[in-house]
Symmetry: C2
Subunit: 298 residues, 2 copies
Amino acid sequence: MRTYLECIPCFFKQALEAARLAGANQRMQKRVLDEVAKTLPVFSFTSSPVEMGGIIHRLIKKITGKDDPFKKIKKRSNQLALLFYPELKKKVSNANDKLLMALELAITGNIIDYGVNNSLNLDRELKRIIEKENSKRRNKAIFNYSEFKSVLKKTRTIVYLADNAGETVFDRILIEEIKEIDKNKKIIYTVKEKPVINDALIKDAYECGIDKIADVISCGLDTPGTILSLCSKEFLKIYKEADMVISKGQGNFEAFSDRKKQVFFLFIAKCPVVARDVGCNVGDINLLYIGGNRYGRK
Amino acid sequence: MRTYLECIPCFFKQALEAARLAGANQRMQKRVLDEVAKTLPVFSFTSSPVEMGGIIHRLIKKITGKDDPFKKIKKRSNQLALLFYPELKKKVSNANDKLLMALELAITGNIIDYGVNNSLNLDRELKRIIEKENSKRRNKAIFNYSEFKSVLKKTRTIVYLADNAGETVFDRILIEEIKEIDKNKKIIYTVKEKPVINDALIKDAYECGIDKIADVISCGLDTPGTILSLCSKEFLKIYKEADMVISKGQGNFEAFSDRKKQVFFLFIAKCPVVARDVGCNVGDINLLYIGGNRYGRK
């Protein structure tokens, strides 16, 4: 997705919120905003908003002098989500359609986000997710479940693009369900190389037990979304083996594009610009299929 | 009021919305935002946000090549508000406390604003204002009505700082009520010198019939709030005669300060930063008294 003019106020809002969460003092916060302002006139609007996200979070790290400003938040998210793991498993095992339930939970787990909405009461929100009938938040128009099942059936190797720490536990639920259906499917769980906001790193995947059921690798990036053209050679080598991509989160929806693969975007639309681009409402849980050239989507 | 870091995302939001309302094309909108970005690192945060408002709206005028981009909006607001005039008069004449009702209406008229919230359905909003019991929106803590009555009694000359076009009709209701109490009170109705957003100009005051009951003058500015130190000599000469100031709108609350006079701020808090500064909720109607050095407020 390209960057829209409406993204600009949001860049500053996110930069300020993230700088504060990262413990920046007033002077540092102002410096972050000034540097974002200086970047704006030279930033290409054909780029994804995620590239500006990368710039913002590199600035925050540089200016606060903290290599991983969201370390504690990520740890807390992992721990909290793990507490919910047994309940999530029960919800899947009690469901009529286990795969559908696991999918819905994996998408709603995308609520764990400090990039767009930091004021979240995570514990309360997770309880709400688990209690609530997810199907009510499901976007009817953009919930390509039958396509998902059909592509999954024919797929041997899946690249799973992770989003946030903590959300990883919800990803584990889905991956375990996929393995339940066919234990021979190979799943490559892909995280970020370096810290950016609360995005999952290899450490987080291990903490949440993903390594027991999938290969965990890094895409080589420190942007809050997977920009394929910028990924490491090591990742791209492994990536090309896969025929199906499960892409988690709004950041990956904004950043990721590959017309040659069967791609499913699992995300909650968190801002009006993305919601407009997708054709849904803010807060909807989406399962969007972009299969090969079928939709010709960029 | 000084500028806070939270104002920064809002500067860009307002610049974009105003540029669009002013009919700027995409390229012009981007140019406005880039110029705001270039100004940011050199903008002094001890200044009022209104000074940045002035910069933004000068940019929009320059880049769109339109001297008065909100001309039509202002004309429409005046016409619409004038249609409500008889109903507003009736509401005052039926009230137990006519001055209080006129005051409440003058403050709620401050809802006519395109600077902070452009998506307003004005007609619907005005109906709601007139039908609704204003007292419910009144901020109990910040509604210094007894002080208003007492200062008004002792005052001969009032400077009335206007805010938006259309709102002028609501101001007329209050001024007429003040004149009803004492026809000898002199009221100097002060508007902006040059167009800035939908702020009232001399033309708007005349269109709304203010000239029949008050002297109409300009403060010499083109900022969306009256920064006393920047006002014209002509205005300041007249201004000094007054002992009471009635200041309308959030812009004037942000910009205006004079410890030597009896100042009453009549405004709806439209943003969380101002609400926090005042100690009220967004949407509250406030009548805030800053009398001489009494509160030592800046």
